[in-house]
Symmetry: C2
Subunit: 454 residues, 2 copies
């Protein structure tokens, strides 16, 4: 009997899992159900498609269903929604969204890669046709179509996370005035305050006004039922379109209904092999938790590269292999206009909550030698344990080389280096790429000096 | 009695040593003798001054003598050549190159930072006025002045190291035809063959012809005594100017005459505190050896950042401190036209000579996601120990993000990571900066897979 492997969801984690499963077991039957219109696309590229940098949404497709079929014998069913998992019978119930037909499929191994959906305010008006959320490729296509067809002169963005900040650049690129309204006192909940300041300076220089500490109260609709203003306790912001970008929630309902345990973050709990609380059922990507190597806790980290890597582990293990997903450090990067922002490890505040005696320092330096006309400012913040001097986290911002520089710090963090050790690393130097002593080393030396003081 | 600290040479190592000594001991008298016209300049920036990117040689000056005096009470004597070190009497004999006066100066601590000079062929004609070498700021100013005044239409470069390859870009920028002639079978003696190939493709695309396996036999002079052709066993290459770039030799004669031991490389031998064989005499920079952490051998590594770091250690220790220079990994980078080339650790050939059973692999990937129009190809070569799977070295080339990416591998090498561990590091991902799985991780996964095969 041929084993059957079923994957629910086909963006990053699901297709990674299916592909890896195929490599692990060339014989098994692999079926992937995706309720949307597309699989295997680069969701993180969506702001760059909307900005026009990437000419068509088709460029975002990494691999089309027919290619999965031809090259890997993976059977992809688009617009098929899995409506029920029966762990006892080892079946899923599937609804064909076009025909309305329901079918039941048996599986020997199951991977849940249902992803996440945008968080929405508890307001009916947030479903108006000119209120947008950015997550799926469909959502990106809708927004782009609206911008192309309706040519709004202005938008209001509610939220200040990565997507909102990337979209600020996209709106500017399109010549659309954009007011960013955030609930908190700084942009980017995962940014150190000093780094958030640099992002806000960038927004103030290149984007429309930034309004902070403004809690959403209402979205006002016009007579035609279209949104006309975002109302907050800090004022009313009119626009022709609205982008709500306040985070995502994991799609866990299907798993939960099947009796699969959720973790403390509300996402699906998985072990180091990406197996859920039910043997034979694996989960990967934005629907499940991610083990953080530094905090040693389960976290919710809905990021494309993590989804891809978890999918790889889940696919291998579900197909009979035995590998572990090694956990995340909490590394990420994004671009806000020309400012690169990147991070690894814990924030100061997270480190404090984790019980560390936290040391941090920030240095301002340059991306190249002082003689190079193209040099840009770069800010490096290190977060370390005051007792052991071990690195706990780092953030870098700058218009050149910030995103790439974080990778060296991610490796340092992975190996639990102290700031003293980091200061001793022999990094490569050439004037177009760094000052004689790289900003990372300058930061590590500065930390070494400060930590040596009583 | 005030202690007197004397530094011989004032480019990278010498000024770094003097500055660090001042921070270590605010009281001591610090005198730096430099036989040239300048101190504290960015020699690695010289090709970019010659290309015109950096408008004036004055931009290369990091700190002028009067600033050293005012801010740090460091007494800099330009055009003063130390002609003798007497370790017994603890004196140096100094010749004022302008007045011809000789003076003798006592020291309590001495740092030798005499640097290196360009290697020259054993030909009288190699001193002709239109034959250039690039090392000191004076040499850069001379070449630039010649190019500005004489406006040669063409040059021939002999040698294919970093400087020759950086200068190929500079000559092209200036519209000067350039034929690069090399003795060996590939450019860049420190490049892996596959990476050298990428550099050669770049040269072939953007520079004049590249002539390989050509041994220099003669430089032909015209009646006015100016060079007119470089004659090799592969042919005769006429030009209006010539750049000879075949490496450097350490300036050790002064140290050697004082009885200071040289190491196996021919440079001054130093211990981990940068002390020479004579107590109280330290050396740093291009005149001395560098301990390599991977080969665990003394090497000759004349690089600006190493000079700076060795100067720092030498200055601290000579002033009474006690720190060690932690050794180099062999990290470096350079740019040839738009191609970034970077390396860390041992070459395959070096690893083989060191007795390792060498594994290596190279992957071709992209600097960003496939949807990003600005993405460039990137090549990552890993070199590892087939027994332990530990990384021994790495080289990266590409038109985007190659130089910065090597830093993560330098940290990995510093921590003696295996390729399997490297594959598990959570690197940051965003479409403008990397594909979902970074080329470094792709290379590490590929190495993991290949090493797992029997």
């Amino acid at each position: 009997m041929t084993r059957r492997f079923i994957v629910i969801g086909g963006v990053a984690a699901g297709t990674s899992a299916a592909s890896r499963a195929r490599r692990t077991d060339p014989q098994m039957e692999i079926v992937l159900f995706e309720k949307g219109d597309y699989v295997s696309y680069g969701a993180c590229d969506e702001p760059y498609y909307i900005s026009g940098l990437i000419p068509s949404w088709e460029n975002l497709l990494v691999r089309k269903p027919e290619v999965f079929k031809q090259k890997q014998n993976i059977d992809i069913r688009l617009r098929h929604e899995v409506t029920k998992i029966d762990p006892g019978k080892q079946t899923v119930e599937v609804l064909d969204l076009d025909s309305g037909d329901k079918t039941v499929h048996e599986w020997d191994a199951l991977i849940i890669a249902t992803g996440a959906r945008p968080k929405k305010p508890a307001l009916q008006s947030c479903e108006a046709s000119n209120v947008f959320y950015l997550k799926s490729l469909n959502s990106a296509i809708s927004l782009k179509r609206f911008l192309d067809q309706e040519k709004p002169e202005n938008v209001v963005t509610y939220g200040g996370g990565f997507i909102a900040l990337e979209m600020a650049g996209a709106f500017a690129e399109l010549g659309i005035a954009n007011t960013v309204v955030i609930r908190g006192k700084q942009v980017g909940g995962r940014l150190e305050p000093e780094i958030a300041e640099k992002v806000e300076e960038t927004l103030n220089a290149y984007s429309g006004p930034l309004v902070k500490n403004a809690a959403l109260e209402e979205i006002e609709l016009d007579d035609a039922g279209r949104a006309k203003a975002l109302v907050t306790d800090k004022g009313r912001f009119e626009a022709q379109a609205f982008l709500i970008s306040i985070g995502v929630v994991p799609n866990v309902e299907l798993a939960q209904a099947a009796g699969i345990e959720l973790g403390p973050t509300g996402a699906i709990a998985v072990d180091s092999r990406q197996q859920t609380s039910i043997k034979g059922i694996f989960a990967a990507g934005d629907c499940c938790e991610t083990y953080n190597r530094i905090s040693k806790c389960a976290t919710y980290s809905p990021l494309g590269d993590i989804a891809n890597k978890q999918g790889w582990a889940a696919g291998e293990n579900a197909a009979g292999g035995d590998i572990i997903y090694p956990g995340a450090l909490g590394s990420w990067s994004f671009e806000c206009f020309d400012l690169e922002v990147a991070s690894t490890g814990l924030l100061s505040s997270q480190a404090e909550r984790a019980g560390y005696e936290v040391f941090s320092n920030m240095v301002t330096h340059a991306s190249r030698t002082h003689a190079q006309p193209g040099r840009k400012k770069i800010w490096v913040k290190l977060i370390a344990d005051r007792k052991t001097h071990k690195l706990l986290g780092a953030q870098i911002a700058g218009e050149e080389g910030a995103a790439q520089r974080i990778q060296a710090l991610a490796v340092a963090l992975f190996k639990q280096m102290t700031v003293e050790e980091l200061a001793d690393v022999d990094l490569a130097y050439a004037p177009p790429f760094s000052p004689v002593i790289d900003p990372i080393l300058i930061a590590a030396r500065d930390a070494t000096k400060r930590l040596a003081k009583p």
